[in-house]
């Protein structure tokens, strides 16, 4: 510890603190521009200059470490004068366009100009007028407003590790750009926008739509994937304008992915349904909510009377909040009288490693998962471990992934080879034996895996057995994938069986879209006498529904989600589109079936505390649930991964821009990635005479489908990949996740 004085206030701080951190502790404000607590000190702007008594040189507070007995002055007349000149110099070429600049009102440069009381610039220079760059589909770049603080460059390097942008040119010509002025194609995470202190990088989804002082902010949790990012819903009236980051809250350190930052527009979508629909004689007609609920209740009653309670099933989506899932379970168990609700989520894996565990780990193995695409924030934690903590990083995946810049070693190859490689890892043979040694010797080893590959669980459980200290992270896909299981969801395999052998006659499907889920698309729902579906959109399943009820999205309800770390976080209602929440639908249905259930989230939360032992003492604002085991059950050593006869290996890929079917309703994401594309290696593409955008037919297991091609240089030769959760691809993946397929050029 070091003791020093800041503006006369004595503080004691650890010796690796900077003067800025010490000042924060002393409660002294030092203006900053290029500093960001998430990034390494840089010292580009000189706004934070301070004076140390007895030292003639001025120092930057953000980069200078503290020393014992320093006597720091932060606001002397000399400093005020210098600070004013520093800002004045920044403004020399700065365009005077705050009224039309999206940053106006939340701009650090604007604030600093006011703070130092600058009203006139003494120098005469013509503000630059470079055309605005729109090559990035999500980010507007106006380099004239740039103050060259380097925050975007640093976050893209230090945190995201993509290094898409950097300083180019020198001296007065310096600007932020891509290598050789190539189009700006990157992860589209928008992290750079979030740190830009001025209006140089702007969110194109929000561009010119509103001004920051009009927006009301509600803290919540992103509902678009299992990472569970802490966000701020920025609304005016009942429109959602932005989904912003909150750097000092949540486990994601203010980092978001492209879906979260740019994919929220579906909440405002005009394509959302507004009225319930009842199908009679094959024709769906609008109905009011009351009517729809009564119809469902009547049907449920009559089917139950005829075929017994077990002929009615409730299926919940992992997009439901814990409270809603709990209520749905009550509906299934107490009101209808079945064994419980179902969810299409794997039942054998549980959260174990937290982001913090991964970030501080010294050896990470990523097993058969493209983690930065599937779960971007989990991916950032892996990157942080490798980058900041210099952890050994091993990636087992058919293609090269974005982690390739950081890996110690990657094991690529076709799915069979990847499985063979992981088998050697577990059995300590061959080249992979050394990886096992590293993991065994590591202080805090972590393995990240894909719980949706049932076969992979064998590797995880074997590794866990061999390395007692190993923590594992299951990359759960959806916002509340874990929560619905905790609320008691049963394995949906039974449900599928029931529908197939026609013992289940009525299905109440809350938000789930089984028609596009892997392993479900081949299931015909026609034999059902009642299919009641709730969904914000007319989904593939909703189209088949006897009764359809439009419902609220996560931005329109209160509740909580449990993320892939097992962290329970509160979701808060920020707007209202006049639609019922799933909880209200369930409560209304229960009432018609003769039992009152609460629909208010706080009442339900009390019930959860009483009835779900895992959640008895958990803090619903960021507390971790304690699970007994990370994986449960006995697993068999997987044989060959892929079935079939074709020449090419097909496996499901993850998409950074989409998670499930929700985000496909977002116009901005759909513009960049709309329909499912087949990824293929350049070598195979050449062999087949294919190029980007040409059509190809894919045949597997008796199904032939046509897709557009995307030639991807990271793909391994002999392998092709398709995204999951699309109507077209779901059919192919209906029979399993790995296939051998044959390809044929079309047209």
């Amino acid at each position: 510890m070091v003791t020093l004085k800041i503006d006369g206030i004595q503080v004691e701080v650890p010796k690796d603190y900077t003067i800025l951190q010490a000042a924060e502790k002393a409660g002294v404000h030092i203006p900053v521009l290029c500093h960001d607590a998430r990034l390494n000190p840089f010292g580009a702007c000189r706004v934070c200059l301070i004076e140390a008594v007895g030292n003639p040189r001025l120092m930057t507070a953000c980069t200078t470490p503290v020393a014992p007995d320093m006597d720091i002055l932060t606001n002397t007349e000399k400093l005020q004068r210098i600070r004013k000149t520093v800002i004045e110099l920044l403004l020399v070429n700065h365009p005077l366009e705050c009224p039309v600049c999206d940053k106006g009102g939340e701009c650090t440069l604007q604030d600093l100009t006011y703070e130092v009381g600058l009203t006139k610039v003494r120098f005469e220079a013509t503000p630059a007028d470079t055309p605005v760059d729109h090559t990035n589909p999500f980010i507007e770049r106006d380099i004239d407003r740039c103050v060259l603080c380097g925050r975007c460059v640093r976050i893209c390097d230090e945190v995201v590790n993509i290094q898409a942008i950097s300083f180019i040119n020198r001296g007065m010509e310096t600007m932020i750009g891509t290598a050789f002025d190539q189009p700006w194609n990157c992860e589209f995470c928008g992290q750079c926008i979030s740190v830009c202190p001025v209006g140089s990088l702007n969110n194109r989804v929000y561009l010119f739509k509103n001004r920051p002082w009009n927006l009301e902010k509600t803290d919540s949790i992103c509902g678009l994937c299992g990472c569970g990012c802490y966000i701020e819903l920025e609304t005016e009236g009942n429109e959602l304008y932005r989904m912003g980051e909150v750097p000092d809250k949540g486990a994601n350190h203010g980092n978001l992915c492209a879906k979260g930052r740019f994919g929220f527009e579906f909440v405002n979508s005009v394509k959302r349904e507004t009225s319930a629909k009842i199908k009679a004689a094959g024709e769906a007609a609008d109905a009011d909510f009351e009517q729809a609920v009564v119809t469902v209740a009547e049907k449920v009653k009559s089917i139950k009377a005829q075929h017994g309670a077990d002929s009615v099933a409730v299926l919940v989506s992992p997009r439901l909040t814990n409270e809603e899932a709990f209520l749905a379970n009550k509906l299934a168990k107490d009101v209808i009288g079945t064994a419980g609700m179902y969810a299409v989520e794997p039942h054998s894996s549980f959260p174990d490693a937290t982001y913090a565990d991964i970030e501080t780990s010294d050896a990470v193995a990523v097993l058969n998962l493209d983690v930065t695409e599937a779960n971007p924030i989990l991916g950032l934690a892996v990157r942080a471990a490798a980058r900041k903590n210099e952890a050994a990083l091993y990636v087992f995946y058919p293609s090269e992934t974005a982690l390739k810049r950081l890996v110690t070693k990657q094991f690529t190859g076709n799915p069979d080879e990847v499985y063979a490689s992981m088998t050697r890892l577990v059995e300590g043979q061959g080249e992979e034996a050394s990886v096992l040694e590293v993991l065994k010797k590591a202080e805090k080893p972590v393995a990240v895996y894909n719980p949706y590959n049932q076969a992979d669980l064998w590797f995880v459980s074997e590794l866990k057995k061999q390395i007692p200290g190993l923590k594992v992270a299951a990359a759960r896909a959806k916002a509340n994938s874990q929560g619905v299981l905790d609320m008691g969801a049963l394995d949906a395999a039974k449900l599928k069986e029931g529908i197939q052998n026609k013992t289940i006659k009525a299905l109440i499907c809350l938000g789930e879209n089984p028609s596009v889920r892997t392993g479900w698309a081949d299931l015909s729902l026609d034999s059902l006498e009642l299919l009641a579906v709730t969904d914000p959109f007319m989904s593939e399943t909703a189209k088949k529904a006897t009764v359809y009820i439009p419902v609220a999205t996560y931005a329109e309800k209160d509740g909580s989600f449990t993320n892939l770390e097992g962290r329970v976080q509160s979701v808060n209602k920020a707007l209202c589109k006049g639609l019922k929440t799933d909880a209200e639908v369930i409560a209304a249905l229960a009432e018609k079936l003769g039992k009152a259930l609460p629909s208010c989230s706080c009442e339900i939360r009390e019930l959860i505390r009483k009835e779900v032992s895992l959640y008895k003492d958990v803090d619903f604002d960021g507390g971790l649930v304690k699970y007994a085991d990370a994986v449960t059950g006995e697993f068999a050593k997987p044989a060959k991964a892929a079935a079939g006869e074709g020449k090419y290996f097909l496996y499901p890929s993850s998409l950074r821009l989409h998670s499930g079917s929700y985000t496909r309703w977002s116009p901005d994401l759909a513009k960049v990635y709309g329909e499912a594309k087949l990824e293929i290696s350049p070598a195979d593409a050449e062999e087949l005479g294919l190029e980007d955008g040409s059509s190809v037919s894919v045949s597997a297991a008796g199904i032939t489908k046509t897709f557009k091609v995307h030639v991807e240089k990271h793909m391994t030769k002999g392998c092709v990949a398709l995204p999951e959760d699309y109507a077209d691809t779901a059919e192919i993946f209906g029979k399993g996740r790995y296939h051998k397929v044959s390809l044929g050029k079309k047209g």
């Binding site: 705050c98 009224p99 039309v100 194109r204 561009l207 010119f208 739509k209 509103n210 002082w213």
Partner: protein, 155 residues
């Protein structure tokens, strides 16, 4: 006694009528609005107008500053991004039935667009007509300009 006398003879009424009679022959100081306009003074603040560029495009850039500063919250703006990344004003409305003619909007405007005009004829039979949009505001500018030119003044 005097009271009864006054009451019976209606003296107070005659006194009152006398005053009325006196004023009937005095010089008149009221105006017969709406047949006659009241004169207005140089710094009068009437219905707003928004200046246009020479090509007819509005000078307003849709910065929301007037909306923010307006104490009676009567300005409503909606902006958006155009197809070429330009700033578009989808809606600009002033609700004159709420406006208190304080002139703050004029003060706040950074681009010399919105101004307080000299027109005060706002009577109407429906509330809807009190909400004026960008088109009306631009037309107001033309009218104000013509009026000013007729008088040899500058806007």
């Amino acid at each position: 006694m005097k009271n009864i006398f006054d009451t019976l003879l209606l003296t107070e009424i005659f006194q009152g009528l006398g005053i009325t009679l006196k004023h009937l022959f005095k010089k008149k100081i009221t105006y017969k609005y709406p047949y006659e306009d009241t004169p207005i003074f140089p710094r009068f603040r009437g219905v707003q107008y928004i200046k246009t560029h020479e090509n007819g495009a509005t000078k307003c850039v849709g910065c929301y500053l007037c909306q923010k500063v307006c104490p009676s919250e009567c300005i409503h703006i909606v902006t958006d991004c155009g197809p070429n990344g330009e700033r578009l004003i989808r809606k600009y409305e002033i609700d004159l039935s709420r406006c208190i003619y304080c002139g703050y909007c004029e003060e706040a405007c950074p681009v010399d667009a919105v101004h307080m005009g000299r027109d005060y004829h706002t009577t109407d039979s429906t509330r809807d007509n009190y909400v004026i949009n960008m088109k009306t505001l631009s037309e107001n500018y033309k009218k104000e300009l013509a009026n000013a030119q007729a008088k040899g003044e500058q806007l």
